[in-house]
Amino acid sequence: MMDLVRALGDRSLERLGSLGRASVMWAAALWGLPRLSELPLVIRQIYNVGVLSLIIIVLSAFSIGAVIALQFYTQLARFGAEDAVGLGLALVLLRELGPVVTGLLFAGRAGSAVTAEIGLMKTTEQLSSMEMMGVDPLRRIVAPRLWAGMISLPLLTAMFNVVAIYGGMVVAVEWLGSDVGSFWSGMQDSVELWEDVGKGMVKSVLFAIVVTWIAVFQGYDTDPTPEGIGLATTRTVVTSSVMILAMDFILTLSMYGEFK
């Protein structure tokens, strides 16, 4: 019994400690804006986490948009309300699925890569040799990846939404023969700039901060062994996904809770 309590306390303290280390790392890395000389590093990382994630984002967006349109259409057609496909699709994507699915894909595609990369750097003692040479790995390695993630994910979310709406339109209009005019006008009538587009983007910025933070910290805090890297990569994907879903619920509740 005592052992159980001790193990529990030990674990909680360990978690608390890693949260503390993560916060210190985050604050230290983002202290001050990136200097102009560090811009090439950020651009390189945007290429790694953003541009290279584009294909998976576009493909998933298209199929998700198409599937939602198909489901909405078949159900709404029973009430003779096929014209509402456009607005249903847009609201679901902008408010929930766009930020969440993009965040999950980003955590799996880019977050895990960042963790493995930094973890390997630590394991092969590249980070400590940088420190020896007087180069701050927080500024040189960590900060560009944090910035790149926070810039890339919202942009990817916007592209995801556009492609998914287009995919939905292809299914609803071209294939199932819903009216193209009512598809767009229904959407424009009920979608609002701040309430739907803006709040969705706010969500995605918050997801971006959390996902990149978790990914970079898990790599930076890796146990410097081959198993450690594997474990850290898994932990990045699992923790980011759970955090995104939990945060999404809380954010939706606070943003749309009263359903004005």
Partner: protein
């Protein structure tokens, strides 16, 4: 990969993201930039608005001419005061314009329909529409019908 190729592809990526945001704003949410500058507000009092919501559309002859800005309740008279934001300059609606609340489509979104008046004078900003007819509430109609059937 050469740094130049990386820079160009990142530039294209950021540009695509910005274009996607513009697309979402303009095409999906249908922002009308001239809308906010050219509009005025008139009031209408209804005995029952039954499910009319802020931002519902205001139409005349089936064409959207504005939106419901906000809805308040007058406790003393038990009436709802609906503020209608009308596009254009004051002076495009005649003084005896009427307003009624109708239902659109099968899903039952309520909207305000304006009925044209004949007066030469026009409604100014903040004026009250006198001729109004509230929403038809199905329960009331059914109740009415049952009472009449029972009487005959």
């Amino acid at each position: 990969m050469h740094m130049r190729t990386v820079e160009i592809s990142v530039g294209a990526f950021v540009l695509a993201g910005a274009l996607a945001l513009v697309f979402l704003a303009v095409k999906v949410s249908g922002v009308n930039l001239s809308q906010s500058s050219d509009s005025y507000v008139v009031q209408a009092r209804f005995d029952d608005v039954a499910g009319l919501r802020p931002r519902a559309k205001v139409s005349m002859a089936g064409v959207t001419v504005g939106r419901v800005a906000r809805i308040e309740v007058d406790m003393e008279y038990g009436e709802a005061i609906v503020y209608l934001e009308i596009q254009g300059q004051p002076g495009n609606l005649s003084l005896d314009t009427g307003a009624q609340i109708l239902t659109e489509g099968i899903l039952g979104a309520r909207y305000v329909s304006l009925l044209p008046g004949a007066d030469v004078e026009t409604l100014a900003d903040g004026d009250l529409i006198e001729e109004t007819q509230g929403a038809l509430v199905l329960e009331n109609l059914v109740g009415d019908l049952i009472t009449r059937l029972g009487a005959s």
